[in-house]
Symmetry: none
Subunit: 196 residues, 4 copies
């Protein structure tokens, strides 16, 4: 009954969600500055004032999307910490599991991923936070005896973030590799190295 007679896109929350989704795609495709509010509202079939009913400003909607990304990513990163008591056999697979989660997220939300990881001025911060979390994980894992301590774990963590970053752009989003493949390879490299 609350919905009777509604034109498409004119329910409050619906409009908001629609705008948010369209904005994400537009930002991802054209970048922040080349994305025009006028375009977003056109695609959402609403007028410009309607946009400002739901979002304070262009920057605000962008930051909202950013925040969305950051939260989801943080969850994934935290979840990827290895539990104690794993046998050596299972180690690689467990590590890969965490990476797969991240890659899956990037596969399913490419727009959000582009915004939070590449477009946003605070992408560096986001990556730093991710690295910090990973470092944390690694340190526990060293303590748990999984890894040796001959390397600076902060550097390893940032290295991993960088690998995820570049492989997402160059391999995942281009369709050249799947999340599983990438995860497996990263594990292979970082765990055993290249040396014969």
């Amino acid at each position: 009954m609350a919905q009777r007679g509604r034109k498409k896109g004119s329910d409050g929350e619906l409009s908001r969600a629609l705008l948010l989704r369209i904005a994400a795609d537009e930002f991802a495709e054209h970048g922040y500055y080349e994305t025009k509010i006028s375009n977003i509202v056109k695609k959402a079939n609403v007028t410009q004032p309607t946009f400002y009913l739901y979002f304070k400003s262009k920057e605000a909607i962008f930051q909202e999307l950013e925040e969305l990304f950051r939260k989801k990513l943080a969850c994934l990163t935290i979840d990827s910490r290895l539990e104690e008591g794993l046998d050596e056999q299972a180690l690689p697979e467990r590590i890969a599991g965490g990476l797969i989660g991240v890659f899956h997220f990037f596969t399913e939300h490419p727009s959000l991923g582009k915004i939070g990881f590449y477009l946003s001025p605070s992408a560096a911060d986001t990556k730093a936070a991710m690295a910090a979390q990973i470092e944390d994980n690694l340190l526990s894992e060293v303590e748990a005896g999984y890894f040796h301590q001959n390397v600076d774990m902060s550097i390893v963590a940032n290295g991993l973030v960088g690998m995820i970053d570049q492989l997402t752009v160059a391999k995942l989003w281009t369709g050249k590799n799947t999340a599983d493949e990438l995860a497996k390879e990263i594990v292979a490299i970082v765990l055993n190295g290249l040396k014969k």
Copy 2:
């Protein structure tokens, strides 16, 4: 008499170089869109038309900087290929040498680095090109017997690019690590892995 050597065009080239340098810094600091020509010329102590005496447009000067970056980077990447006949002892150091070159470049030209690697819409292409070059190097090195072949070298190459990328931002430009340290750590990780 001190100026006798300056023939025609000399002052012009100076102005041009000045604008180019300032533009690089401005773009690096504020990004493409928030960089205003009016600001660049103000800092260069010239008027706006002077800018257009030397550059066709805002986009043109940006692309010129991009190109500058790409060329220097390509040189460095090519130079980092390992020559044949290295003994196993020298291997890590030689690999690190190539990385150090890249990190030094980023240290000495941070503005150019930001432009070409982070700001430019074609940054992804640049990184892809770098990865391709590194992959090339790696494949020769596999053939030369330096590395085993259990991993996809394209993924390794992209991973390395990602590591360089993230470590530059998070460690090099923040002053937390030197080029040498980063290079050594990367070598340690990628050559031997983390496994105990």
Copy 3:
């Protein structure tokens, strides 16, 4: 209540029409290049962005005015074709009628006339089109037996266009002659010639 009839878009159309009218006058008075958008909007009491709400560009509004002129002129020219079965007595008056129509149009819309006939880069085309239409009329009229065929009707047609052109500028718009006088004189000249 007086305004009840004005539904959505009504004020917008008003602004648009106002801008169009003012622009016509400005273009006519100062020419294309010396006409500034800033001046048009000032006279219309709106801001510059409002202008761009209704017109794509300065060139676009100019072309719209041009087109307006061309269409009205084409109607008038077509309407001035003589119907068949006129007796010789009525001929001069009928011909004059067509000319009067054109001159009236130029009297009532001098700005449009200046734009379409003098300022526009395509004025030559417009005149050529008018001449072609007149030639068409003349040829039917020759066939109908009104005129002899000793002259090239394309030249006559262009000659008439030229006369209309110059007399409009030199006589009509200066107030030295009325539309009726000019029409009558043209008829007298072109029908009978000057020879004693």
Copy 4:
């Protein structure tokens, strides 16, 4: 001896004449506003300051060209007055002679013609002056008994100017008719009219 070692276009008067000629063509082709001094000097192989050595301003060079046109045209118009004592036989040919002179001038100096007759803001004045001169001629010719007096000679004169104008653009410069053809047709029309 005065000429030894000169580079092309660097003799004072030569440069001036060259600039004048190129400017005429540029103005004729692109109109006043779309003609850029930078372009003129480029085509003349001189620098911008050199231009200002010879001409006070863009407007000044344009006006100089205008003046050139006006003077030559005035001569031609004056020369076309019919001398007394012509027999009726020779009349059409003599009148045509004057017109041919004008058309020849337009054929040989199209750039100048475009400038003085179409581009210049004072084109209307120039045409008015020409019309006045023609009217003068016509009045003497009426007095000499060549023409009847049933028409307003000022209107005839302006009509002739208009015909010349339009036929020059539409027939002469397009190559559709020669000066002689146009002159003959105009005479035929204006002397005898179209009526059967």
